[in-house]
Amino acid sequence: MTTPAAFSSYRERVAAALADGSRFAGLHATSGGALIRTLLADPDGATRLETIAPEDGRVPSIVDLAPAAGWDEREAHDLQGVRFAGHEPLRPLADHDPALERWVRVRGGDVYQLAVGPIHAGIIESGHFRFHLVGDRILHLDAKLFYKHRGLERAAEGKTLDEGLPYVSRACAACNVANGVAYANACEESLGLLPTAELRRARTILLELERTWSHLNDIAAICAGVSLAAGNNSFAALTERARRLNAVLTGHRFLFHTIRVGGSELMLDADHVRAAREEVASIAAAARRGWRELLFNSSFQDRLPEIGVVTAAHADQMGAVGPGARAAGLAQDLRANSPLLSYEGFSAAVPERAAGDVQARLEQRALELWQTFALLDRLLDDPIRPASAEPGGRERPIGVGRVESPRGATSCVVERRGDRIERLRLRTGSYANWPIVAFAATDNLLPDFPLINKSFELCYACVDR
């Protein structure tokens, strides 16, 4: 039986951790809503879970301590029926019952609403945006996602750890390596396994190959956001080259089926590795040429500053992660502290002009691409052999894996019973950042929203799951 004392001590523990510099990294309900677990990540990379049992289906909200917990609490309410005292109003997130639909009330003269989606005009994933406007000025944006909710986490329950992998990797094609590695790390932590140097290297190469096409695609998308066909075409072509390289190396353009729990079967001989390194160098040279052309295109550059601004203080407070957070000046990148991967000597890149606007987020992609090209050049120095994780820690019922995906910190929690999944939670960089996109749109012009949205280029699939 949970007592009010346990409630206040849970809030105190979370508050103390946040005061010590930890960041909120996820919250989920488990055991059919009988327990709530809050994941906190220390600056040195260590993680811990604070667990609390609801009483009469209620736990105290921590959304006042960590606004980033807002979506997590709404999700736990909608999918597991837990209520969060102090989180008022607890609006639906995953529950699409029309009777529950509540948009934020925006009042005043000439305010109107504009409904966009779930089906969009271009080739875009499904999701609904409700803009509250005066003229072209956005006063507030409500993002209603979860149209693509497939119930992946629930479907994974009861599966073996190996069988569980597709539920996280196929949650999202664009993040499948990052999701897969986060899941594998979580399973291995729970099983008391540590990846060998060879396994760490193989996974790091795959993660950086994923980041390569993804960041090239993001730059192309931002160009498309302002209808700059030349920039869009040159970076879309480079995206295609990166995907073709993936297919040559792994047999799949999106690197599907390359991650495995407890090991890696990736095998590349010296010739393949050398050819890959040359192709990466060639893509890098072309990307630098393309980037220079963008820099000197003043009509393009003039469109980008002071659009969709997220200050460092707001990014920190709201739990922004990934390129969006770094472009605001937060030098946070899980790769700088990843003993389970091969990122020795890596430090987070932050642009000189870390203004947190579209221009800074665009520049951030380029800075990170140069880092990724250098990493791949260093890592593709030797044939890649099958590798496995080795016993190196104690077994525990819950494992946590955290990986820097192209869109930011992705956390995976695996609770197991024997070799079966009892509960799986995947909180991706996109999940953390969607509330930031809605925030960034505020006070901007409606025609700039596609550009703001593209400057984050988040996935819907791994949010909705």
């Binding site: 149209y147 497939r150 499948n176 879309a236 072509a237 995206t239």
Partner: protein, 168 residues
């Protein structure tokens, strides 16, 4: 003048455009009914310089009211069922439904039964199936170009009166 026309025809041949006068085109409306975003990323790539699908008369249009083809990716989720049906109802006749990717075809679906309706054919008549996880841009292009030929063979080439007047 004649020389100019001849040169233009030669240029058309050398850069690989379809022969003049074939009058082929397909207006496509894409709907993501619950995909992993892989099909969308490959579909986007069709517009890149490597594929440049517009030169074959294939274009993505903003509204189902302007579309000949509804291109559906993903297993249909319970939350996307109604938007998908509304998009289909908005299309002028004749219309085609293309299921894009293994999920849309019902192969190897992942998810909870209560959140998934199933493959596209569970709620719409499917005219063309494009397998793959995700299908490569090559495979998508080849299948859609095949649909143009099939479409013109099956339906008379009369003008579609509803296609332009139906636009909102």
């Amino acid at each position: 003048m004649l020389t100019l026309l001849r040169d233009l025809r030669r240029l058309r041949r050398t850069i690989g455009l379809p022969p003049p006068g074939s009058g082929r085109s397909l207006a496509i409306r894409h709907v993501d009914a619950g995909s992993c975003n892989g099909c969308e990323h490959e579909l986007t790539q069709l517009a890149s310089p490597y594929y440049d699908l517009q030169r074959f008369g294939l274009g993505i249009v903003a509204s189902p009211r302007h579309a000949d083809v509804l291109l559906v990716a993903g297993a249909v989720t319970s939350r996307m069922r109604e938007p998908l049906l509304i998009a289909y109802e908005a299309m002028p006749e004749p219309r085609r439904v293309v299921a894009l990717g293994d999920c849309a075809l019902g192969c190897n679906l992942l998810g909870s039964a209560e959140d998934l309706i199933g493959p596209v054919e569970a709620i719409l008549p499917v005219d063309l199936r494009i397998p793959g996880c995700p299908p490569t841009p090559d495979a998508i292009a080849e299948a859609l170009l095949g649909l143009i030929d099939r479409g013109s063979a099956e339906t008379p080439t009369t003008a579609r009166s509803s296609s332009t007047s139906g636009a909102s």
